[in-house]
């Protein structure tokens, strides 16, 4: 009888050990370590240039597909060069490997999930105080090598952007970089927001006001597809490129 109880107790202990080991292996390192490992291969990246081709299917936007050259310089300088009207989603159109730097964000593990048949981990990333637009991100990490598979950012204004990323290896000399190949950004705009123009007492659709309109708050959902090609990494982009030149380009940092 005593022997049977001992066996049972041993069995339960073994089960407990097994359960704990599974949990630990699923979260083998802290969220900070996970994100540190993700950005580690990009530590020597100081700038990049990439050509993009984008298709915009957003409510209220009727525009042809556009091509543009994107420039990025560490830490967060961005620059777009194109003759077309090029609305690039903030915080998701540009690839910024340092966006989720654990030193600047508060990161918490949420759960292990399956994403498109792939095992992934979901983290909540809350930006530091310097970020005024995004409340938090949900970030799906997985694959081999470990990388960011999907990001969902929630802006303070209520806009939600779900970004699905696919990657490719970019060989440059003896270096090999894992860079985005395609991004599908699904945007969900908040309902019921009215711009000041909308609240104007006067009829907007009149011949005097026409032609002097301002874009209104967007509503509904939309998609933006971006494909990236011709990556050039660490070419030593000059800071002057990122100053606000209105003539034919757009910059922000």
């Amino acid at each position: 009888m005593k022997r049977a109880i001992k066996v049972k107790a041993l069995f339960i202990i073994l089960l407990l050990i097994l359960f704990i080991s599974i949990t630990v292996s699923a979260q083998e390192s802290t969220p900070q370590q996970v994100f540190q490992a993700i950005i580690k291969p990009y530590q020597t990246l100081s700038d990049y240039t990439v050509k993009i081709q984008a298709k915009v299917m957003v409510p209220g936007f009727r525009m042809p597909d556009f091509a543009a050259d994107l420039y990025f310089k560490k830490p967060d300088k961005l620059h777009i060069e194109t003759k077309s009207f090029a609305p690039i989603p903030r915080n998701s159109g540009f690839f910024d490997p340092f966006q989720f730097d654990p030193g600047k964000n508060r990161i918490t593990f949420i759960q292990a999930v399956k994403l498109d048949g792939m095992q992934a981990e979901l983290y909540k990333v809350e930006p530091g105080e310097s970020e005024t637009r995004v409340r938090f991100y949900n970030v799906w990490v997985g694959g081999t090598p470990r990388r960011i598979l999907q990001v969902e950012n929630h802006s303070f204004k209520g806009t939600k952007a779900l970004v699905k990323l696919t990657y490719k290896n970019v060989e440059q000399g003896h270096e090999n970089w894992l860079m985005p190949e395609k991004a599908h950004i699904h945007l969900t705009f908040p309902e019921g927001m009215q711009s000041q123009d909308n609240s104007s007492f006067l009829i907007k659709d009149n011949p005097v006001a026409a032609g002097r309109g301002k874009p209104e708050e967007m509503q509904g959902e939309g998609d933006i597809y971006i494909s990236y090609r011709d990556w050039h990494i660490n070419t030593g982009l000059d800071d002057s490129l990122f100053q606000s030149i209105m003539k034919s380009t757009s910059s922000t940092h």
């Binding site: 409510p59 209220g60 936007f61 009727r62 525009m63 042809p64 556009f66 543009a68 961005l78 777009i80 060069e81 194109t82 003759k83 077309s84 009207f85 090029a86 609305p87 690039i88 989603p89 903030r90 159109g93 540009f94 637009r133 802006s155 204004k157 806009t159 952007a161 945007l187 705009f189 711009s195 007492f201 006067l202 009829i203 009149n206 011949p207 005097v208 006001a209 026409a210 032609g211 002097r212 309109g213 301002k214 874009p215 209104e216 708050e217 967007m218 606000s244 209105m246 003539k247 034919s248 380009t249 757009s250 922000t252």
Partner: protein
């Protein structure tokens, strides 16, 4: 008839007041373009895209010459009739005021032919003025800000590729000229009623301002009246920049504007033919 028109053209274009409009817009447009070039373009862009910039980084040469050409035409719309009425209001009333009608009407030319010649000259002046403003705004803006696709903010954002723009602007200016023909025709009609050229100018501007107020206020009564006011069709030129271009609505607008113009002209002819010339 050609000789009559030629004489009227000489009379009109040798008066210095004919050039007030050209001088005014010749100063205003370069002044605004210079202001935009010297930093105003930046704040303009910030203001224009303030609602989009939360979600997007806006790239590209969006505020280019075509954009400002389009914007100027929209913004100057209320002011163009003022300069047109200076000449249109003077066409008949000016003769009465100067006391030259008796001399003019003693010639073996019918009143209808005289008034038709004056009307054609008024239309020529109107067309020259609109094309001058259009050419100046587009020309200067393109020189200052370069080309690119046109961003039209009307029921959302529409981007029109640059290759189509010269053709679209040409049609747009044609429609804008037609809309201004109606203004000139109305002023011309008022000019037939009086011997004081100031009266037609004030009366025409009063009609335009009252019409604008009526079509801008969201009262049911006003909106019911709206289709009967010619000012309602002033923006026919902007419809060319819609996607798809509503050619059926544009054709209807052309017919309505032409109808107003012919009505005002015929009313002027009928009234002037029976008018007792006392000066």
């Amino acid at each position: 008839m050609i000789r009559l028109i030629w004489f009227e053209l000489i009379k009109t274009f040798t008066r210095w007041r004919t050039y007030i409009g050209f001088i005014a817009f010749g100063i205003i447009v370069p002044l605004v373009v210079t202001g935009l070039k010297l930093g105003g373009q930046d704040s303009f862009k910030r203001h224009l895209f303030s609602l989009l910039q939360n979600d997007f980084i806006i790239g590209g040469n969006v505020l280019n010459g075509w954009f400002f050409g389009f914007f100027f035409m929209g913004a100057l719309w209320v002011h163009v009739p003022v300069v047109l009425t200076i000449v249109a209001g003077d066409q008949i009333a000016g003769e009465g005021n100067a006391g030259t009608f008796r001399f003019l009407l003693t010639h073996s030319v019918s009143r209808t032919r005289i008034i038709t010649a004056k009307f054609i000259v008024t239309l020529i002046y109107t067309a020259v003025m609109v094309l001058f403003i259009g050419g100046l705004t587009i020309g200067l803006s393109l020189c200052a800000f370069g080309g690119g696709d046109l961003l039209v903010i009307r029921k959302g954002i529409l981007v029109i590729q640059e290759a189509r723009l010269p053709y679209l602007f040409l049609i747009a200016y044609g429609l804008a000229t037609l809309a201004m023909f109606v203004v000139s025709s109305l002023c011309f009609l008022f000019s037939a009623f009086t011997d004081n050229p100031i009266g037609p100018i004030i009366a025409t501007m009063a009609v335009i301002i009252v019409s604008i107020i009526i079509i801008s206020l969201p009262f049911d009564l006003f909106q019911a009246v709206r289709p009967y006011l010619f000012v309602n069709y002033f923006d026919a030129w902007q419809k060319v920049f819609d996607d798809p271009v509503p050619w059926d609505i544009i054709s209807m607008n052309i017919a309505i504007l032409a109808g107003f113009m012919i009505t005002f002209f015929l009313a002027a002819v009928v009234y002037f033919s029976r008018k007792d010339i006392l000066s």
